[in-house]
């Protein structure tokens, strides 16, 4: 309906500073065995913003997300071609990371690019040990430093007040929403730059969902967040940029407000208006 509106207009509306691109994706193709899950996809993900991937199931959005920190490595037959790079960063002293480089240090990549899954999956350990799991792998810390780090991460994930009295109690005793925030605390405890979230609220009740969404909004000042979601309201509520995928192709990407109010493509329009998916 409003496909005539020029895209330039929306850029004027957004923040004064031009977006800095953190993750560059160019002509990416990905397969599971013989099945091509992603076709020739190019996309830029801005730094310290929330980018949402939306689209019907099987559209390749989760596949793309999992390629960003190479979680697909363990899937037999999964492979990808093209360019997927994370910009160099002086303050985090690393040069540009070419994610698909077979010789890449995947462990280091996953420390910089954390991931939160659909279902809360805390380890069957204490709350403290869950958060300390990553730091213990990656850093040498004294007991007091670790305590500080655990508290900081839990506060960042807005779950500290609820768990501070039972840090050494089992993580599986928490409610679903608390578990998911614990998983976010666990992910940020290793100091990542990017947080990938694969439908983080789909297994939660509405009030927990709201808490997580608020948290996502908070966290974007420090982290670049990519969130995959089925829920279009969620994408419109908490993201800055939205990308719409269909059958392995990127149909449209742009500032969230624009994509939801004035989509350029008919498929996007149909999808955001609930005609399919």
């Amino acid at each position: 309906m409003s496909s005539v509106t020029p895209a330039i207009e929306s850029e004027e509306n957004s923040d004064a500073l031009p977006d800095q691109t953190l993750i560059h994706i160019e002509k990416l193709n990905a397969w599971y065995g013989d099945f091509q899950a992603i076709h020739d996809l190019s996309l830029e993900i801005p730094k310290h913003k929330v980018t949402a991937f939306i689209g019907p199931s099987g559209c390749g959005k989760s596949t793309l997300l999992k390629w960003i920190n190479r979680m697909n490595d363990v899937v037999p037959g999964a492979r990808a071609k093209g360019r997927l790079a994370i910009s160099g960063d002086a303050s985090n002293d690393h040069a540009e990371i070419n994610v698909l480089d077979p010789g890449l240090d995947v462990v280091g990549l996953r420390r910089k690019v954390g991931i939160v899954f659909q279902k809360p999956n805390p380890f069957p350990k204490s709350i403290y040990d869950n958060v300390a799991f990553g730091p213990r792998l990656h850093m040498k810390t004294s007991k007091s430093e670790l305590d500080e780090l655990v508290e900081w991460s839990l506060q960042k994930a807005a779950v500290w007040d609820e768990v501070k009295d039972r840090l050494h109690g089992p993580a599986l005793g928490l409610s679903g929403g608390q578990q998911q925030r614990l998983c976010i605390a666990r992910a940020i405890a290793v100091g990542p730059e990017v947080l990938l979230m694969d439908e983080p609220c789909s297994a939660l009740d509405p009030s927990s969902t709201l808490a997580i969404e608020d948290l996502i909004f908070e966290l974007r000042t420090q982290y670049t967040i990519v969130i995959v979601t089925h829920n279009m309201q969620q994408a419109s509520r908490c993201s800055d940029k939205t990308a719409f995928f269909f059958e392995g192709k990127l149909i449209e990407a742009g500032p969230t407000e624009q994509l939801f109010t004035r989509p350029q493509q008919k498929q996007t329009d149909d999808y955001v208006r609930g005609k399919f998916g």
Binding site: N69, P76, I115, F123, A187
Partner: protein, 409 residues
Amino acid sequence: MSSIPDAIVNQDAKFLTDNAKRRKRLSLWFYFLCVAIALISVVILIVLMVSIWSQGQSRLSTDLLTRAHSELEIERSGMWPAILGSLFVCGTCAVVALPLGVGTAVFLEEFQPTNKLLRWIHGFVQLNISNLAGVPSIVYGLLGLTVFVYMFNVFGQIRVNESAGMEIMGYKHFYQVLTLEPGHVVFVPQSDPTKRQTTFDEPFQAVDPDGNPIKISIWTPGTPKPSDPAIRRQTVRAGAIGGTITERNWYYFRLPFDKSFLSGGLTLALVILPIIIISSQESLRGVPSSLREASMGLGATTWQTVRDVCLPAALPGIMTGSILAMGRAIGEAAPILVVMGAAVAKSSGPKHLMDDAVTMPVLIFNWAGRQQDEFKELSAAAIIVLLVILLLLNSTAIYIRHHVQKAQS
């Protein structure tokens, strides 16, 4: 065209009710048959327990638990060396089979290859393990006999009363000589272990049975014999012949292993290895993959994931499976019989790594096959002891299963 077929319309009402009745009756009969047959296994178990208890309970005594097998005092024969022997054999078995089995299971479950050729090899190893689980235990016994006991005879043929092969450590050879004082022996360190005996004509250095060094002088027949017992204790007759005696430390080690408890334990390890692998694999498969993803997503390597997440989560299952496998090992007789022989005369537990041993099932087998009623009853009593030990083991396994299930929920 689409009128209802005759078969549906023209139904004999009487036939229908009769047929339904007949089929229901058949079903009921079948149900009773099932119940009856399922009860048979319960009956079998009860008859087994009762008959063995009534046969063996009269022989359950402290003698049974503290004494050794005796041909002369059949009444007072016991199974203490067999209990010790089983402990040593199964201990060896556990030390070897547990790490090997769990390691294999971890490798097969957690390090699944993505490449086609490796996947094929992986499948082959998996099939091989299921096949090993079906190999009769007596074939493992023969493998143990050939590989551990004789080591394909590369170290020379084993002969009776001769320590064949390569002695590696923990041994001291001595010549043993009688002094002039009756019943008193001294030991002379032997430098050349292949020499069977030696003749003493010159004074020499020796040690007494307590290990103190003493100088031994020679008494030539025809000259006056020393009369002081202390001197006689340090004097031997010229031309005295020393026979070899070997002192073995607990870490005595030689190749081949011969019919030692070590051979037995290693063989049993082969028998239970497939069981441990398969049960550990099943427990690892039960660990939700979301936990693996979480750990990998935090930048843990596969091994770190296994060590910190998968193994702790699968531990109760692995322990239960391992305990059940150990139960199998304790009761296993055939491979032990082949490897260590059927002799039960040993009066103590193993003294060194290469010492032989008797195990409980072999003792039971030996006693059960004898003519004397005393031995038959002793056998039943030994079975009761063995079953009690197995029961304790299995209760531990069940306890672990329930306890941990509760703790994790």
